[in-house]
Structure formats: structure tokens, C-alpha cells
Point group: C4
Chain length 278, copies 4
């Protein structure tokens, strides 16, 4: 008897799982679409609330709408926990934390009113759009890019580390040369200025005024201008490489359940979730 109930519950759980995580069934597509719409609506809401002009006019409507969205997100969050075989895995995963951050501030605002500003974390849910839209045909074309980015990740990290060390060394030097009287008020600010300069952003909120400072800044700029060639060169070469070596990878399949790439042409089951492949 109990077994029967459990099996019934299991069946329901599996069906919810397919709706929430899959995108091949009608209800799965509808769920993805509604989620997309609600996420976008919640962002428009937060944006309008941040503009005093609109907030003063429609404050009450905004509060109600926000609670409706919060309830929707809460139901979705609970369903995601329930239908997962390993709920803890989901709760402590990146997506689990993002989903929680999207609804927690509203509930917390009962106790700590100021915590409501944390609702802007809801924008992180926008990242789900990648997962939702990932299933469109454009994905096939992203694969080589992913391969290239994976191959160049370590090199890019070494490069970023190099830029940071260089910025610290040159930032402290500029602090010495220009000093607090020209806007380089402490070493962290000088390092910030150096990153602004080296990445060619150049706000101009701080800029060198002494001849020596301008000479060093010129040197930093030309160096930064040359350095940009390095990550570009790495990604380009790796991308061309990925393009060349794995032309057959274009014809991969995607697991309908967990959306993992299936590269093995002869696979009958998904290597990730064990779903039977057609």
C-alpha cells in the first residue's frame, strides 16, 4: 500500500521534473516561457521602483506586484526542491542560491525593513535566460566557442594575474609620483586608476598632472594597448584550433532531460542523467 503511494509520488515528481528541467514537452515549454516572462517582469518592476518619478506614483501597485512575483518564485523554488532526487545538491548549487536570493529579501523585509534593497539580487535570475534560451538552434554554434574558452581559460587567468600585479606595482609608483594632492589619495585608489588606464577605459575622474606622471601614464597606456593583443591572440588561436580539430562535433545531440551535450554518436543513454536517447 505504502509502496503504491510512494510510486505515485515518484511518478508525480518525475513529471514535475520533466516540466521544470526539460523543454521538449508542451508543459515544459510553457513553464520555461512563463518563467522567462516573470523574470523579465520582476526586473522591469525593480527598475521602475528605482526611479523616484514612477515609484512615488504607483508605490502601492509595485508592492503588490512584487509580492505576487515573490509567491510565484517561492512556489517554483519549493517545486524545484521537491522534484529533485538530491534536494541538497540543488539548494547549495549556484542556481539554488540565486533562486533563494531572489525571494529571501522580501521575506526578510518583515524583520529588517532595509533589507528590501537586496531585492536587486533578483537580476541574477536573468542568468537563467541562458539556460532557457540555450536550447535554441544557436547553441550548436556556441559549442566551439565553449571549447576555445575552456582551452584558453588558464592562459587568460595567468594574464589577468599579470595585469593585477602590474597594476599594483605601477599604481604604487604613481601614488609616489603624483601624490594625494592630484587625486591619487591612497594606494588602492592609485591601483584603481592604473586598472582604469591599462584597460583603456579612462574615466578621467583621476588623471596625472605632473610631467613625470603623464610620462608614466603614457607608458602604461601604450603597454595596456599592446597587452590587449594577448588574450585576443589566445582566444583566436584556440578557437581556430577547436574549429579545425573537431569539425564532426557540430553534429552532437542534446539530452532532452538534462540538456547535456552527447558527443558519442553511438550512445543510447545520456552519460549524465541516464535518460534514454532517441
Amino acid at each position: 500500500m505504502r509502496n503504491k503511494i510512494k510510486s505515485k509520488y515518484d511518478l508525480l515528481r518525475q513529471q514535475i521534473y520533466i516540466i521544470i528541467y526539460g523543454a521538449n514537452t508542451f508543459w515544459g515549454k510553457l513553464f520555461d516561457l512563463s518563467l522567462l516572462v516573470v523574470i523579465l517582469l520582476s526586473l522591469i518592476l525593480i527598475t521602475l521602483e528605482s526611479m523616484p518619478r514612477y515609484d512615488s506614483l504607483h508605490h502601492h501597485f509595485f508592492v503588490v506586484a512584487e509580492w505576487v512575483i515573490t509567491v510565484f518564485f517561492t512556489v517554483e523554488y519549493i517545486l524545484r526542491i521537491l522534484c529533485n532526487k538530491r534536494p541538497l545538491n540543488y539548494i547549495f548549487s549556484f542556481w539554488g542560491i540565486v533562486d533563494l536570493l531572489a525571494l529571501l529579501p522580501m521575506y526578510l523585509s518583515f524583520f529588517i525593513p532595509t533589507s528590501k534593497v537586496l531585492i536587486v539580487f533578483r537580476s541574477l535570475r536573468l542568468l537563467r535566460l541562458f539556460a532557457i534560451l540555450d536550447l535554441m538552434p544557436v547553441l550548436g554554434q556556441q559549442y566551439h566557442l565553449k571549447l576555445a574558452l575552456k582551452a584558453s581559460r588558464n592562459k587568460i587567468l595567468v594574464f589577468v594575474y599579470f595585469i593585477i600585479v602590474l597594476s599594483i606595482v605601477l599604481g604604487t609608483l604613481m601614488y609616489l609620483v603624483e601624490g594625494p594632492e592630484h587625486g591619487y589619495k591612497d594606494i588602492p585608489t592609485s591601483i584603481y586608476w592604473c586598472i582604469v588606464t591599462m584597460t583603456t577605459v579612462g574615466y578621467g575622474d583621476i588623471s596625472p598632472h605632473t610631467a613625470l606622471g603623464q610620462a608614466i601614464a603614457s607608458f602604461i597606456m601604450i603597454m595596456g594597448y599592446g597587452i590587449i593583443a594577448v588574450p585576443t591572440g589566445i582566444v583566436t588561436a584556440e578557437y581556430a584550433n577547436a574549429n579545425k580539430q573537431n569539425p564532426e562535433l557540430e553534429e552532437h545531440r542534446i539530452c532532452p532531460r538534462c540538456t547535456t551535450f552527447i558527443y558519442n554518436q553511438d550512445a543510447n543513454y545520456c552519460h549524465n542523467c541516464g535518460e534514454k536517447l532517441s
Copy 2:
């Protein structure tokens, strides 16, 4: 009898078509050249009118000159409609709307005087220069570029989408960190700032003032600096690919009537408009 008139009219229409759309006959070349000159003149006119110094001196001359150009554009527009076999196709095409926008504001200004400022849409006609100048030898060299851009379009779009999502997430974060008192007056403004920073433009009209804000900004800058490598890598690899795979495509022909590329070496007729090829 009617048939004869129609056939006469057809002949005239075809001749006008060849003059307006073709560039191989003497009159076709003359038309293209005059159009080019008139478009440039109209732009110089609009530019001078926008400068109070000149407008106050020669206002009446400018008004007359603008009407002369408007009449020229109107005649051209009517001829383009008449000589087309499917006039509606032209009217609702991109070029048809651009051509209409170039003359409509002047006529509208009789009823709504303020609409005259919309004359700046005339600058869109400048895009015609691509079509006019397209027939020069330089075009052959653009072909591989077009192929590469077409191949990388989807990837670039995914990338642009990624930048926009990232800007929204990081923009709302900065709104939280810096707040309206440091210039991040609402979320749209913060997102605008984030795009300004990530693309390394860096106006400096808004810039972070808190230590945490500067740290996040530094992170955004280094990320933006690394991200620029991605579209470059894609275009480069695709361009090198197009260069490699289709070396024989350099020797394409161009239809003298509709300027379509003819890749089939044995073609006797244009595959687009059916024009006989020499």
C-alpha cells in the same frame, strides 16, 4: 491598341529601371553620380542649418535649397515606385522607407512646423552610398569579409546578449553599492554606466566613489578587457576560414543589373533577376 501603349510604357519603365538601378550605362552612371552629389549636398545643408552661426546669416537660402533637394528626392521616389514591377515591395522595403523619410518631414512641416527637425533622417540616405560605391573594384575584396561576418553573426549575437545580461546584473549590483548619491541615480543609469565601462569607453560622467564600488568596477573593466577577445577571435577565425575554403570565390562576377554576386562560373543568366550575363 492598349497593348501597344502598355508595351511602350513597359519599355520606358524598363529603361528608367536600368538608369536608376543599373550602373553600366552612361545614364545609369550619371544618375548614380548626381544622386551621390545631391545626398552629400543635402547633408552639408542640414549640417550648416544646425549651426546657429550660419543659419542666422543664410536662413532663406537654406530653406530654398532644401525645397529644391526635396523636390529632387520626391521625383526620384516616384520614379523608383513607377519603374518597379512590384511597387509595394519597394515602398515597404528598408530603402523605400529611408527614401520616404528623407522627404516626408518637409511636407509634414506645413501642418506640424516642429516636424522639420526630422529632416535629419535624411542622413540615412547616406547608406545608399554603399550601394552606389559597391560597384567599384574594392567590392571583390569585401566578399570574404561578408562570408565571415555571416558565419559569425549568430555567435556575435549570443555574445552581445551575454554582455547585455551581464550589464544588467552588474549594473543593479553597482546601484546597490554606490547608490543615487554617487551619480548612479536609478537602475537604467547604472546599466548604462556598466555598458560604458565594459566596452572600455569610460566617459567618466558617472564613476565609482566608494572603495567597494571601485573594486567591482576594476573587476568589470578587466572582464570587459578580456571579453573583447571573443568577438575578435570569432571574426578572425571565420575570416581565415572563409579565405581558406573558398579561394576560387574571388573570381565571381557581378550582375550588371541587380549587382548580385554570380558564383556559378557557367551561369549565363543572373540567378536573381534573370539578366543575361556577358
Copy 3:
């Protein structure tokens, strides 16, 4: 008798030619070195004169030094004319005009005192350093680069033309959207702003203030950020191509007289000036 004088004069002219244009003899090297030093000195002089701090102290010394350099440049200019077989070719060449511009302002300042500021054209002589230093071993490594730049020149020009047209269209649009009250005071200024934005320079002297203006600006920035991929892709692919196709070109010779590249391995005489090659 006259023949003999002429032949003597010819010999002298040839010797001067070798000293001035060649760099293989001791006197040729010495001449190049002195020219390099004098050009650098004249630039330091102009720079110091532009700084009121130094000019007020040593004004008389600066005037004398400038006349000494002008006399040197005048003698050099006359020698260059005399030793050339076709003096007019030199006078109306790019270098001839640059050399004249370097000395003319000083003589003109007798009649028009304000013309002395034109002496800054002397900085153009700095370009001669490329010619002088061209003969160093680094040149061999520049060759593939030159080939790649030549191959991509037309495509880059089409691209620059595209950026300019786009800047005019988007600049006039922004003039309409933002208007003179936000710094976009006329259409040329708006176009200038658009180029500043699209090239990711971003001075911030003019920046959008309306929501629509900021949205269009964001679009321009992302587009400009993507567009930068195009010239990079072209140059990279062409450079890789030049590297691949002509590995043997590294072993070229250089004509000792006119410094032209000699690619033909069997050549006995320079194909440009007819100098016998060793």
C-alpha cells in the same frame, strides 16, 4: 674641356648622393647619424620653446640655436636638390615638401612674424627616422607585416568608410535626441561625439543625459566594441597568410643604394635603381 668639368661635377654629385641616400659607407653612416641627432635636437628645442617656464629664461639662446639648425637643414635641402638627377621629382615628393616645411617658417618669419609657429611642422621630419633606422636588422621582420598591411589596406578602407557613414547617421540621430542643451550643439559636434564613442575613446566632454540618448549610446558602444573585431580579424588573417605563403621571402636582400627589397634570388642589379648587387 667642358665635358671633363661636367664629368667631375657628376662624380661629386654621385659621391654626395651616396653619402646622403646610402648608408653603407662611413660618411653615409655619419651623415645619417648627424641628421638623426639634429632632428631630435630641433624637436627638443621646439618642445622647450613651447613651455613658458623655459622660454622666458633662455629665449635668446633658443633663437640662435634655431637659426643654426635652420641653416643646417637649408644646406641639406640644397644638397639633396643638387645631387638628385631629377631635382623636381625630389622637390615635389612627400619628403621634399616635409624638408621644405622644416625650414620655410623661419625665413617667412622675417616678413610675417606670426608664421614662426609653423615651425612645429619640423616634427614631420621625425618620420625620416623610419627611413634612417629602416636599415637595421629589425626591418627583415617587418616585411611580412608590410605584406599583410598592403593586402588588408582596401578592406580596412572600406571599413573606415563604413564607420564614418555610421557615425554621420548616428551622430545626426543623437543631435535630434539630445539637442544643443545637452552639449550636442550642432551636427558636426554630434558626429565627433559618435566617433569618440564608437572608437571606445570616450572623453566625456559630451555625454548623453536623456534616457533615450543613453540607450542609443549603449547600442553604439556595443556595436563599436563588436566592430573592432573586423579590422583585427582582417589583419590577423592576412598576416597569418603572408607568413604561410612566403616563408622564403625572409631571405631577401636590400639594395645598398636605394634600400629597395630584392626578392629575386638571381638578380644581379637592383630592379629599382640599377645598382650592381653583390
Copy 4:
């Protein structure tokens, strides 16, 4: 007898050498780690001292901590001199000077109190982190990058020289066009502005105000935007080349003593220091 003492001293020196310069033994790793921690601590200390908020509160603690670190650095410096077979080589090497600069300002501050600000040179020690972290697995992936950078160094230098000459020529031109009344106060400042513009940094502390100045600036920007393609193209092509030609180089070994790359697969001894290789 003396021989024995000398040999004992030699053994000690060698052991210290292995600890300081090697990273394969337990003590060697511990030394590297402590050095890393002390360098980071000293930087945090300097940073906090530069911020008046913290310096006013904990000034005495900071002074004591700085002396502790200085003593540590002094001991390390003396050990490095002692354990080297050729101490003078170390003292006058780049690292020797950096290590000296990190401790000298503190001792000098006894005689010249103002010299203490020179302590910021300590940030140069951060470069040691490259050497310390170099031994991690990421290094193998840096090798092709190093090869590509070495191959493109000369070309990049020619390119940097080209940018500098261009900046001088265009900077003096802008000084003439805009003049001191628009912020271009002397020629060095104009050259600085030109580098700021050409590298697309664009602070906006100086910006053109005349129509001609803005036109020239637009030209410089578009040129700078195109020029960035050149170093990127060079590095990319060279990197792709290095990747292609030397795939087997990934499997190099590293000398445990001097951390030189060992490319020869059959080598039994390090070609640099003669250390026996396993």
C-alpha cells in the same frame, strides 16, 4: 684542516641555495610560501599606511611591523648573497636591485626622514610571485605564449616606435591647432593627449574644442582604432604558429634547481646549471 671547514661551509651554502632557489624540498617550499606571505603582508601594510584613516589610528603598530618585515628582508638579502657562488652577479641583477630597494628606504630614513616614502618600491617584490608561482602546473600552458611573445617582440617594438613618432607629429600639430587656451598648454602635454587618444583611453582632462581640432582628433581616433589590429594580428599569428610548429614542446621538463625549461627529451643534466635530471 682549512679545507675541511671550507667544504663544510660549501655544504651549508649549497643547502641554503637549495632552500632559497629550489622548490622541490620541504624547506624550499616552506621558504617560498613564507616569502609570499611576507611580501603580501608588507604590501597590505604600505597600503594601510597610505590611508590617513588607518594610519592615524595604528601608526605605532605600523612602524613596528614595518621594521620586523625589513629585518626579515635584510636576512633574506644577506642569505641570498652568501649562498650564491657569484654574489656580485646577484647584487647587480634585476632581482638583486629589487630586493635591495625593498629594504634600503627604511635604513635611509634614519638619515633622511623623507626617504621613507620610497618604501613603495617594495611593491616591486610582488614580481617575485611570478617566480614563486611559476612552478605550478599552469606554467606548462604559458610556454607557447612565451614563444609567441618572443617571436613578436621585435615587431611589437617597431609598432610601439611607430605610435610614439606618430604621437609626436600629431601632438605638435594639435598644439598648433588648439593652443594653450584649450588645455594643450605645451608640446609634451599635447603628445600626452595624443597617446591618451590613440590608445583609446580618453581621460577627457584635455579635449579639443575647435572644429578643426575635433576633426583631427576624429582622424586620430579612427586611426588608433585601426592600429590596434596590428599588435593583435602579430601576436595571434605567432601564437597560432608556435602552437602548430611545436606541439611536442608541451612535454618539456623543468630543472628542479634553476627552473630552466629542458626541451631536449634525452638530456640527463640541466643545460643551464648542470643539475642532474631525474
